[in-house]
Symmetry: C2
Subunit: 401 residues, 2 copies
C-alpha cells in the first residue's frame, strides 16, 4: 500500500511518502468488525501465516509465516472467523519503506539517513493502513516482544479503535541490561569497517561481521540457560542430534556453522576429546551460534537492525507520567490478554506483571497467563500446548464476534 | 622467575622455556607453612595487593592491586601472618610468557601460535614456582571466578600440597550459555580485520573493535540486572551521578565514553529528551559500556583474551568421571570455603552448591557462604562487609598457622 501523505514522526522528522507491505488472511466481514492486526518483532515481517507457492504451484521451502502455529483456519486466531492483517513496519527490510530504499527527496538510498522510527510511529502508520481498508475498530491487536509493545501502544494511541490487546512476552520498557545488549549489537555493526557510517550500499559491501555478532548476542538472550544446557550443554561438535532443533528457526545442521574468517578448516572432533583451539569450533553451542549469525547476515539489513533495536530502547509509555505506568495506562479502553514465559530472562514475567498491575489499577479487564515453558523468550514463537491453548480460549470466549 | 625445563601442556604441546611474573607480600615463615597462593581471573595479574610507587616515592595513580580489599596487613588474608603470592598466568599479557612475546624456537612473536593453556597447565606452572621457593604445602590457595577454578584444580592436582582452598564466585565448569558469551566475544575479536589471524603484531595494528565488543559483552555478564537498573536504569546521558561507581573499575566519567567510530560529535541531552539517534550515545548505560570497552582495548592482548576464555570453557574436572563431580572431587584433601553471590548469573550460587554437594559426598570439611549482594559476578572483587567478614573469619579460625 502506497501512502502519499507525509507521516510526522515522534522525533519531529517526517517521511514524505512511503509503502507498507502487508498480507491478509481470511475475510473481512460486512460490518468490518473481525479484523485482527498482528505486529511483528525484530526480524519478522508481514508474512505471519500460511505458505507461499512457487510458479508450479508447489509450496516453497521454508516459506511458512512466522506465527503460523497461532494463525490460520482452525488455529487459535482462526482465519475462518477473523480477518488477520500482517504488516511490515517502516524501517524494516522486507518490503515496507526502509533504509535500503531510495529517499524520494534526494534520489539516494536512505541508508543511515532513514529517520529514527518508534513504536508510536509504527502504530500511526498501521492505523493509516486500517483507514484505507475502512476498518475503524480492531477486534484485536496482537504481538510478541516488540510486537507486544506495539499492541500496548495501540491501546494508548487509539483507545477507541481496539477491543482486545494480546501482549505476549513483552515489557512496558527495556531495562538497562536490555539496552546494554542492544547497544553491544549496534556497536558491533557500526564499528564493522564495511558499515561505512551506514552508507555501505554505495560501496557494494555489507557489514556482515557486525551483523553476525549482533545476531549471536541476540540468540543467547532469546534462549534460556536451561534449554541451552539441555540442547547443547558442553557437547563437543558433532555429538549432538542433528535432527533436533531449539528456539527460533534452528534448522542448522551444525556442520554448516563454519565462519570462513576463522581461517582454518574444521576437523571432526572425537566425543569428549578437545581439539585445543581458540579459533575453530569446539562446542556444539558455538556451531549453532555461528550458523545463526551467518544466516542472519545474509538477509538482514544493518540499518534496520539499528532502527528496530532503537525503537525497543525508546518505548516507554510511563515516561510522560514520571514513570507511573498506572497513570500511563489509564487511557487504555481495550480488554487485555497478557502472556509471559517463566524462563524468559529478556522480558521476564515480572515485566508482564507490571503491565497487569497497572491495568488492574485502572479497573481494566485483564487476563494473564504465566507459562512454565523452558524455551526462554523464544517461547512466544513456539508451539507450546498451554500457550497456544490460552490464546485459543481467549479468542474463542472473549474476542469472538 | 625464569623456567628452563619445558612444561608439557594438557593439549600435548609444550612450552620449552618461560617466565612467570609474580609478587609476594608478607614474610615466609621458617617452616614455610604460611604461604597463600592467589589465582587471578580473566583480566587480572600477579599484582593482587598494595600499590606501586613512582621514582619520587609517591603512590602511582590507580596502582592498587586487584584484590587489595582482601589482602594486606590486618586484612582478611593478613599479610602480617601469611606470605601471599600473586602470579600472572602463562598466556596472559602482564609479564608472564604469552602471545605478545617471542617464541625462542622461531624467534618470532607467538601471536596465535601460542599454545592453548588450561587451568591444569596454570596449576602445574604455579606448582613449579612454589618448588623453586621451597614451599611444599600451601596454607591456602584462593581465587574468584576463573581463579576459583584454579584453586579447585589445585586440590585435585596436588591434593597433599593444599591445606585450604577458598573458591569464590566460581563453578565446576561453564554452562552452554557461559561458553556462548565467550564465543561471541572471541568471534568479535577474530573477525576484526585488524586481527590478521592472530598475527596483528606484525602489522602494527590491534584488533580494538573486537576487544571493545568482547569487553562490553563481558561487562554485561559481570553485573546484575538489578545493579544496572539501580545505577543506570533508563537514564539518558549526563543525568547520572558522575562520581558514583559500580562493579569492576567503573571510574569512567560518562563523557569519556565516546567511540570515535560513531562518526559524529555528541551533544549533551536534556533530561528525558531523546536525541533520536541510532549511532550516538543516548542512554548512560551505553556511555558506561563504551568507555569500558575503549579502556580495555588499550591494554589487553587479543590473543590472551582468546586463550583465557578457552581455559574457562575447557575446565571440567568431572568430565573424566562421566560428569560425576562427586567422584571427581574424591581426590581432594583440602578443607574448603566456598562463597557465591545471589545476583551472580554468570556463576550462580547453584554452581557453587554443586561443588559443596560433591565435597560433602566425600565427607570433606566445607564451609559455604551465599552472600546476598546486589552486584552480580563482580561482587567477588568488591568490598562487601559480609563477604569480607566471612573470608576474615575463615582465615582467622581455620587457616591460621
Amino acid at each position: 500500500m502506497h501512502f502519499d501523505e507525509p507521516l510526522l514522526l515522534q522525533s519531529g522528522a517526517s517521511i514524505r511518502a512511503y509503502d507498507l507491505s502487508y498480507e491478509t488472511y481470511g475475510t473481512l466481514n460486512v460490518d468490518k468488525s473481525n479484523a485482527v492486526l498482528i505486529c511483528h518483532a525484530l526480524n519478522a515481517s508481514h508474512h505471519v501465516a500460511g505458505v507461499y507457492l512457487d510458479e508450479t504451484g508447489h509450496v516453497k521451502d521454508k516459506s511458512e509465516g512466522w506465527w503460523d502455529s497461532m494463525i490460520g483456519p482452525g488455529k487459535p486466531v482462526d482465519t475462518d472467523q477473523f480477518f488477520v492483517i500482517g504488516v511490515n513496519n517502516l524501517g524494516s527490510c522486507f518490503g515496507s519503506t526502509g533504509p535500503m530504499q531510495v529517499n524520494p527527496d534526494t534520489n539516494e538510498v536512505y541508508g543511515a539517513n532513514f529517520p529514527v522510527v518508534t513504536v508510536q510511529d509504527w502504530v500511526s502508520a498501521q492505523a493509516r493502513l486500517l483507514d484505507v481498508m475502512g476498518i475503524q475498530t480492531l477486534a484485536a491487536v496482537m504481538g510478541g516482544s516488540l510486537g507486544g509493545m506495539q499492541a500496548l501502544g495501540w491501546t494508548l494511541q487509539y483507545p477507541d479503535r481496539v477491543r482486545h490487546a494480546v501482549v505476549v512476552a513483552s515489557a512496558p520498557n527495556l531495562t538497562a541490561e536490555n539496552i546494554a545488549f542492544n547497544e553491544v549489537a549496534r556497536r558491533a555493526i557500526v564499528t564493522d569497517p564495511d558499515f561505512h557510517g551506514g552508507h555501505f550500499y554505495r560501496y557494494g559491501v555489507l557489514p556482515k561481521r557486525g551483523l553476525r555478532i549482533a545476531r549471536m548476542i541476540g540468540h543467547i538472550t532469546y534462549l534460556s540457560d536451561d534449554v541451552m544446557n539441555e540442547k547443547f550443554g558442553r557437547q563437543l561438535r558433532q555429538t549432538v542430534d542433528l535432527q533436533s532443533s531449539v528456539g527460533e528457526p534452528c534448522e542448522a545442521p551444525p556442520q554448516a556453522g563454519v565462519d570462513a574468517s576463522a581461517g582454518s578448516a574444521l576437523q571432526p572432533a572425537k566425543r569428549d576429546a578437545y581439539k585445543y583451539t581458540t579459533q575453530e569450533i569446539e562446542f556444539e553451542i558455538e556451531s549453532y551460534l555461528r550458523y545463526q549469525g551467518d544466516k542472519f547476515a545474509e538477509y538482514f539489513d544493518a540499518n534496520t537492525y539499528l532502527l528496530i533495536t532503537r525503537a525497543l530502547d525508546y518505548f516507554d509509555p510511563a515516561s510522560e507520567f514520571g514513570g507511573d505506568l498506572s497513570r500511563a495506562l489509564a487511557k487504555a479502553r481495550a480488554k487485555f490478554l497478557l502472556v509471559s514465559f517463566t524462563t524468559d530472562w529478556r522480558f521476564s514475567p515480572a515485566r508482564s506483571r507490571e503491565i497487569v498491575k497497572a491495568l488492574l489499577d485502572n479497573q481494566r479487564d485483564v487476563s494473564y497467563a504465566e507459562i512454565d515453558a523452558p524455551h526462554g523468550h523464544d517461547a512466544f514463537l513456539l508451539d507450546d500446548a498451554r500457550y497456544i491453548g490460552v490464546v485459543r480460549s481467549y479468542f474463542k470466549s472473549k474476542v469472538a464476534v
